[in-house]
Symmetry: C2
Subunit: 123 residues, 2 copies
């Protein structure tokens, strides 16, 4: 498929796909005319890239991790293993942080609701 179709299927912009390629996260074969062609597998790959992005991983970090996804075979997995463990930790910490923040928001909301109720009672 061409880049527009992949973009539609993966729900990202054409611009982003070109950027991913520029960053070495995604490869494509080229037609005689120079247009990029992708396979069905790339849809899932792009989705995974997106997932890592929204998890706060940088493009650079994703670049380090993806080889492991491609070929869990070389000794690059040694480095990737460490990287993944590290990112997993960071992710866990971040999740904990978000949970605490959500709790804090809940507290604020309860307070606001209490005030609202008080106003209601007064009216």
């Amino acid at each position: 498929m061409r880049i527009g179709e992949l973009a539609a299927l993966a729900g990202v912009s054409v611009r982003s796909l070109r950027y991913y390629e520029e960053q070495g996260l995604l490869t494509s074969t080229r037609s005689a005319g120079g247009q990029r062609h992708y396979t069905q597998d790339d849809v899932e790959r792009v989705a995974f890239i997106q997932r890592l992005y929204t998890a706060g991983l940088s493009s650079r970090t994703v670049t380090e991790l993806l080889p492991c996804l491609d070929s869990p075979s070389d000794e690059n997995s040694d480095a990737a293993m460490e990287r993944m463990a590290k990112e997993r930790d960071r992710l866990s910490t971040h999740i904990e942080d978000l949970l605490r923040t959500r709790d804090a928001l809940d507290v604020l909301m309860v307070a606001a609701q209490a005030h609202r109720d008080a106003r209601q009672t007064a009216a």
Copy 2:
């Protein structure tokens, strides 16, 4: 206290504190010479701002929420209430997403480990 001390206590840069003020997230009294002065409470406030930032809230959104923290009294809490509920939802969704991403990482790590073990056995 002056800005440097607050920055140290809250663990943020002086630059950031000025930025927060510019964005209306933080206020300060000024000395005769024009220097900013803060109270002890501001330490907690800055920490809370940081918390919301790392939760992915934009400066603009935080601006809308903070009045509710300041005075849970006006009808601004009506708008703030809605905002908070919306952000809470967004946060929950994001947390779910991160959890799934962490699971995905775990799967990758298990695969990598399996390969490592296989190599170990072969050796």
